[in-house]
Point group: C2
Chain length 456, copies 2
């Protein structure tokens, strides 16, 4: 046997391997110190030390008089995917130095000085007056003051998040794309909400992955379905939107959120939680990332749905190691995000404009929701409840309105509809459509709907 | 044999296949009309019609009294790569409708109305006052007025480019990343400038491709080396920067540009030309895209080097089919680019601020170049000539300064340098470094250099 520190590592790794393989699971008791020492032919102190380190990592817990138990699987597991990141790493450090500007004398820099560009005479046209500094490129993680603000916003939502866990993206879709490129290989099975966010389905198809739909119910993912499909598929990732779900409009409950995380722990899943409406929803809404504290949850946010679609600005928060791996990929592929947009958003937040805007937006959305619900129910249509507070209603349709022709018939009448088939991994989902509350009470739409419903 | 139009197609396809397989090459004479008609058992008129259509496509040329000759290979060939784009395509059409907004009634839309977001009361903080409209998301190709402006700028550079050929990107790196994701499979050989742009090398490593360096000389790529490596490697793509080359500072000559394109035609290469300094270089500088007219050249531009690094705004121009394929990939992975930044840039261009800024930038860059050249040559260092008008000097170093320690020694003195090794696919390039003209006359740097040169 090797030296004592290596023996401890050996015991720890053997436990981690059993946890990853699923032969040891949360709730199970570990062999006693004596049995394990005997089995491995090592000293009891070594086993004690290994167990204690795993207690320190929150993976085991000691119950006095009873022994050691598994509390949870090791965090963030699906990282075995080998991508040729290492081959690119010496370039990353060079790129990072360009972005982070640690050295004062910079003949090796590839960029012109900011005094030649955005902080030159041009400055006055770029609304930078209120800023002391304006780095030419962003730091590799994004504009720091905005990132700090966002960590504050996450803390309000109950998600503790430090500076090395949050990176800026070109929007939620860019965040998902980075996660997929980093952790999904062609042929991989990946779990998704069904119905779910269709641009995610497109990205998974592009990556050559198999999207496996987990039934989305009024209170969140169907946990039994999640467990069955995780078990059968061996998937390691689950993409989900907990709140104001796109397309069904509903929000997860605390009970379901807890069960989803337990299932994720049992089946060693990394969960990617998309939360585009966070800024108009209650701080205290149930978020997987708040329960789990960014352990096995990657949390994705954006300003596209609540500030402006014309910015491509979002963010991603994750365990430090994952955040760093994902940011490396971002730097290689896109160098950085728009510090200009990030600065402008920071300014809107800092001066209270964004907060005032959110109040107005909430009022608008809830008035439109009420009007749409009233008009659609007056037609005799059933809307899935409860409604989660975002922009979507999930409207069930009569059986005969499930046809693919419906989209074309609507388009012929100048109406853009989004039927269930767009959001599902299955070919024939139950007839339904997503209705945007801003347009749900449109008279032309309502008349067309009434006509369609009358047809047989 | 099939019907006459299909017979013509048959003849055309048979010629194209021979060209793609390399059994028929530019310069070679085709069989006579009579021989070909006899060989295929079809009418002479059919052969004439097929040949004439290929003349119309610029692939064949008729020499009166002599017959038909191959002028060039069919354009844009390396498109055989199957990526699972089709699987994602039904989602693309939905995304595209969201972006392009063709239908007036929009209950199926996933987005809130812009009147709720950026054109709401918030508008006054977003400097949109001067704009009539402000779409929530960009069109899928980018902000149209800026794209039209850019087509105009390309026309000035001699590159005819229509609306369906130019898409906006999150900068030049995003453009390269899109091309690589679309057309490069793991294990592919890809030709690059050597020395060349190191973030490109990182992206190719990430894609699992083999970057094969083509010697970069003072007047552009070494064409004999390009031909030899294209032949040996079977590579289908060549990434190059013709003007104010990063890192060597030089620019291609017309003669070399012509030879590069001939080699590309002979070896069926798609050429990706990066032109980040275009806006401070002469309109009439030799550009591959101008000679080739976006036939087998993809042209990549950016505002990062001449306007502001804090915008992530660039563009890509290509043959319509390629542009469309690349834009589809952009939509799936990133939805769109920042219409906000694109609008702001358009405004700077439209009002003449950008033009004034470019004049100042040219003055700054050339003054800094003169000062750096003088200071470095005073130390006895050799700078590669001619200098191409961008931000870089390629400074040859004494043999003993080729070590890897140099970077660390410099960093210890607070100096960030970029030695040849960073830019090369080979492990031991000749000792040299890229010097940014903005920092080349920095006294601390010059003192450090003098010290290093004295050591043995």
């Amino acid at each position: 046997m090797p030296s004592p520190p290596l023996k401890i590592e050996f015991v720890i790794n053997s436990i981690l391997m059993q946890l990853r393989a699923g032969t040891l699971r949360p709730g199970q008791r570990l062999p006693s110190i004596r049995d394990e020492a005997q089995r491995l032919g090592i000293g009891k102190n070594t086993v004690v030390e290994a167990y204690l380190r795993l207690v320190g990592q929150g993976i085991l817990a000691a119950k006095p008089g009873s022994g050691y138990y598994v509390v949870r699987s090791p965090p963030a597991p699906p990282l075995e995917r080998e991508i040729p990141l290492a081959a690119a790493t010496d370039r990353i450090s060079l790129l990072a130095e360009q972005l982070d500007r640690r050295l004062p004398i910079r003949p090796g820099d590839g960029r012109p000085p900011t005094e030649w560009l955005e902080t030159s005479e041009l400055r006055r046209y770029l609304s930078y007056q209120r800023f002391q500094e304006a780095d030419s490129y962003n730091s590799s993680w994004g504009y720091k003051p905005l990132r700090e603000r966002l960590c504050g916003a996450l803390a309000e939502r109950g998600i503790a998040c430090s500076d090395d866990q949050l990176l800026m993206t070109h929007g939620a879709n860019h965040g998902m794309d980075l996660v997929i490129r980093r952790y999904v290989a062609p042929g991989d099975n990946v779990l998704v909400d069904d119905p779910g966010y269709y641009p995610l389905l497109a990205k998974l198809a592009l990556a050559g992955a198999n999207a496996i739909g987990v039934d989305r119910r009024h209170d969140g993912p169907d946990v039994a379905d999640l467990e069955a499909k995780a078990k059968k598929s061996g998937a390691r990732l689950f993409f989900t939107q907990s709140l104001a779900h796109n397309p069904t409009g509903g929000s997860i409950t605390f009970g379901t959120a807890y069960s989803v995380l337990r299932a994720a722990s049992n089946f060693n899943l990394l969960v990617i939680e998309d939360d585009p409406f966070a800024d108009i929803l209650p701080y205290t809404a149930p978020r997987l990332a708040a329960l789990d504290q960014l352990d096995r949850v990657i949390y994705i946010g954006t300003f596209s749905k609540t500030l402006a679609g014309s910015f491509r600005t979002g963010y991603l928060a994750a365990a430090p190691r994952l955040a760093s791996e994902i940011n490396e990929l971002k730097v290689i592929t896109a160098v950085s995000t728009s510090a200009h947009d990030e600065r402008l958003i920071f300014q809107l937040v800092e001066h209270g404009h964004y907060l005032k805007h959110l109040r107005r937006l909430r009022t608008r959305a809830s008035a439109a929701t009420a009007a749409s619900v009233e008009a659609l129910e007056a037609l005799g249509l059933n809307i899935r409840r409860p409604i989660g507070g975002g922009f979507y209603l999930w409207v069930e349709l009569p059986e005969h309105m499930g046809s693919e022709d419906l989209v074309h018939d609507a388009a012929a009448a100048g109406i853009f509809i989004a039927p269930a088939a767009n959001f599902s991994t299955s070919q024939e989902p139950a007839p339904a459509m997503r209705v945007n509350v801003a347009h749900g009470a449109d008279p032309t739409f309502l008349n067309w709907l009434r006509e369609q419903m009358g047809r047989r």
